[in-house]
């Protein structure tokens, strides 16, 4: 199902008509061809107006767009031989995080990430990509296998955050996130983390300690969601747009702060407007970084990862 955000709504009737024409009519010539080209011109004009200068709040919404490609979409388009592995061997399998082994450009790698759903049923089954402790334990288990078998690790980040629930707390949500973050510093293989959608706080960081951190142009990565921040600091959840400006959670902001190494360009309007173009862009960038990292020995990778995160933070010092 095609889904439109509020600020995209003007496109909806035109694109529906385009779909209709393409489906039911011969568009190679005559009346329908003419209508179609008119509509397409209209679309590109509106696209320029609505996507030309995106606000942080609009980007936050785009990062959660239901039609954006999700982790398993990237896995099926960028990888071959994907074999999903299940379970944390402690409690259960958490479908909010999916992962396994696959090949990227022929190289065997571990690939894992948060998986939101594309329709209501899948979203509910996967808890909207909000993992419980067993999800992070599964991630650690897969990364541990990759380390032992000396396979590079590619993670995809796309979550509103770790799930806040009774069971999650009882089974140690804080401890599993902390352990996952800490564990990633021990890895002796290349780790590339890609923020593909919503990078929500500790639940995102739990699979985010990479030698490289890449981020899609309209993805966001933040300590707290704009709505959550607004509810606390403004005491008004509707002040999300103000909080989104203040938090600076967009890819260009994070590149500026040296938190991400490269921003992966999206098709005009966002990844949901053209999946193939998005896959092509990411594939190229991923390939480049993986090649660079493959030439570094294990100790070097560990040291580089430590130094990268060690430098993060801005303060001044009186001596």
């Amino acid at each position: 199902m095609r889904y439109y955000l509020d600020f995209e709504k003007r496109l909806e009737p035109i694109e529906r008509r385009i779909e209709e024409i393409k489906k039911f009519h011969n568009v190679t010539e005559g009346h329908y061809a003419k209508e179609l080209s008119g509509l397409e011109k209209k679309v590109s004009k509106i696209e320029k107006e609505i996507y030309g200068d995106l606000s942080n709040w609009q980007r936050s919404q785009l990062s959660r767009h239901l039609n954006r490609p999700h982790t398993l979409d990237y896995v099926s388009h960028l990888f071959t031989d994907f074999t999903e592995l299940h379970g944390d061997r402690r409690f259960k399998d958490d479908p909010a995080i999916a992962g396994g082994f696959a090949r990227f450009e022929g190289i065997s790698v571990a690939v894992l990430g948060h998986q939101k759903g594309k329709d209501v049923r899948e979203m509910a089954a996967r808890n909207f990509g909000m993992a419980n402790p067993e999800g992070y334990r599964k991630a650690v288990r897969l990364m541990d296998l990759a380390d032992r078998w000396q396979k590079p690790i590619i993670t995809f980040i796309d979550t509103p955050g770790a799930f806040p629930g009774i069971g999650a707390e009882e089974r140690g949500q804080a401890e599993t996130i902390a352990s996952a973050i800490c564990f990633m510093f021990s890895l002796s293989v290349p780790v590339i983390a890609v923020v593909i959608g919503e990078g929500g706080s500790g639940g995102a960081l739990a699979v985010g300690v990479g030698n490289r951190v890449l981020m899609l142009e309209n993805a966001t990565y933040s300590v707290i969601s704009p709505e959550g921040c607004a509810a606390i600091l403004w005491r008004d959840g509707a002040k999300g747009p103000l909080a989104a400006d203040a938090l600076k959670p967009t890819a260009p902001d994070l590149y500026e702060l040296n938190v991400v190494d490269e921003v992966v360009p999206e098709p005009f309007g966002g990844a949901h407007r053209n999946w193939q173009e998005t896959f092509d862009h990411l594939s190229q960038v991923l390939s480049k970084h993986l090649k660079e990292l493959l030439s570094i020995p294990g100790d070097g990778l560990r040291a580089q990862r430590y130094d990268k995160f060690r430098r993060m933070g801005i303060f001044q010092e009186q001596r």
């Binding site: 009774i166 009882e170 996130i177 909080a243």
Partner: protein
Amino acid sequence: MGFFKKKDKDKPPHIEIDIQKEIKKAEKEEKALWIKCSSCHELIYRKEVERNLDVCPKCQYHFPYSVQNRINLIFDKGTFVELYRGIEPVDFLKFKDTKSYKVRLQETRESLNRNDAVVCGQGKIKGIDALAAIFDFEFMGGSLGSVVGEKITRLLEEGAGKGIPVIVFCASGGARMQEGILSLMQMSKVSGAIYKLKSQRIPYITVLTDPTLGGVSASIAMLGDIIIGEPKAMIGFAGPRVIKETIKEELPAGFQRSEYLVEHGMIDMIVPRKEIKQKIHQLLSLITT
């Protein structure tokens, strides 16, 4: 209060102001004398609580404890030397909610006479050397930002370099939102340094006090080799209000309190304040000698 309404125009105004001041002063003094326990809700004589290491004599709830008191409680007299004092916060995002972060920092720093939400140092615990970080919940809820992250990371690196055990006394609502993504990144920075410390086989002990939540809980606090809770301290990832709003259910009795975490295997033990020095010393001596 009803005797001196503003409508009584025949009263000279300066007298009225004086009386209101007096009432406020009296109220303040009254408040200063008595405090309400946030756990058992009893009204208790403040002096009695203070004499009892800020512990409620009725229900043993451990009130937040000042950094200076904590240092005096834990370290042998005159041995604690503060480290990394000169590291100061910066409003690099120019973050503004109802107040700008810059102003908030200025006001907090002035009123608490402290640069940020953690004090680090080295001292002796019954003769054993230890490095410690002590969170100050008064300073923006003990939130984890660049300064707290940097100071604790240096402390951990110092521990790894010199082979000295590290102890962190946590009291925090979580990451500091006003520093955006870089506050989140402090969780990874600190966790990397904890990994380093642990690889050197140096013990890392955390003491979780009321409250220890969010980003601090999901990094510094829960990575302790040994984790100690203060009685009735609230410890968790998400705060109880967020959980309640998400799941739309009542939370179980005692949820996210130290006692609950021991029961669920998340912390090692609960140690009352008056025994904490003895317990830490015992642990350090068991581990190191």
